[in-house]
Subunit: 202 residues, 2 copies
């Protein structure tokens, strides 16, 4: 084989996802991933620092992208709209590679450590989007809340997209989840909330 | 010293928090905590499995409490109200021990691993509250969204409570953050959200 391997990164990623699903993440070695991809371990390490980076290597690009999308939303966009637009554009990208995103999710869900890493990634994305909103002049607590609520909407929409037998777009589920959150919070009774204080149900 | 130590658990907790703040979590040993509390290591290990459990030992009780509060909310309470009530009652407990909760937060914020553990704890609380809502007959995505949004509100309220020089109650900040989330989502333009699709800002 020559030094130049066509689409080595993509082939390694696909081989890794298959093996993580077949054998489990912990049971898979870099040597096995390289062999499945028809490449060498050395080539693997030219593309990924370790086998976990196959799953999380895209996180910093995703963050840059979301931050750019929030910053680039029209000046007139409300905070939650700037967040929603950013998530929608990510959603469109996920739709384009639905199969590998689903495979990745299967791997993550099956492993406690990876689930925790994914949570930390999402929290970092929320923090970065909140910061991008502050850069647009949005004050706290609105900036933090809009970003956290956006990530909550995205997580729920993502789960529904993964399970959607009708294969509707992720953007469809994001719209639906945002509408649902709006309906939920609109239903909050300030009376009920105040009543809660000090009443400890047993 | 006799075998029975008055309030050993509380003394160990206080000694641990002080040392974690003074020296850092990683640099503190169980032996030092026991010495500061005027107790033995053996006594420490009767109360805590390790030095991290001093910070996270209350998580399962907190979860049981929140789940009980959600389950015990009046049948007429809207999902977000059931969550808000549960958080309010926890808030009242935090207010009663404001100093140690603040000390704990200082320790958590200073250490990456502890911050990650705290995130995972909050995600578990959201999942447990979502399950409690399902037990009340709330369907998805409402159950998951209400719980996630509730945790987002709680996190923001908690941060503001920690920084509040006026020392207002945590329940005050929870009410305020929930109202803010309501205002934010009410401002979401479904038009703006749809427009977002496919427009990748650069």
């Amino acid at each position: 084989m020559g030094r130049w391997e066509p689409n080595a990164r993509g082939r390694l990623e696909q081989a890794a996802l298959e093996l993580y699903i077949e054998r489990g993440f912990d049971q898979t070695t870099v040597a096995e991933i390289a062999m499945r991809a028809g490449l060498t371990e050395r080539t693997f390490f030219r593309h990924f620092a370790d086998k976990r980076e196959v799953l999380f290597g895209g996180a910093s690009m995703l963050q840059e992208f979301l931050v750019g999308a929030v910053a680039g939303a029209p000046a007139s966009a409300a905070p939650i709209d700037a967040i929603a637009r950013a998530l929608q554009t990510v959603g469109a990208q996920f739709d384009e590679r639905r199969d590998s995103v689903r495979q990745r999710q299967t791997v993550i869900v099956a492993n406690t450590e990876l689930r925790e890493r994914e949570l930390i990634k999402l929290a970092s994305l929320a923090a970065a989007m909140a910061e991008a909103l502050r850069g647009r002049g949005v004050t706290d607590p609105a900036a933090g809340l809009a970003a956290e609520a956006g990530i909550a909407v995205f997580r729920i929409a993502f789960e529904r997209w993964i399970d959607d037998t009708d294969q509707r777009d992720l953007s469809h589920h994001i719209r639906e989840s945002l509408a649902e959150l709006k309906a939920l919070t609109a239903g909050a009774s300030s009376h009920g909330v105040r009543e809660g204080l000090g009443q400890v149900p047993t």
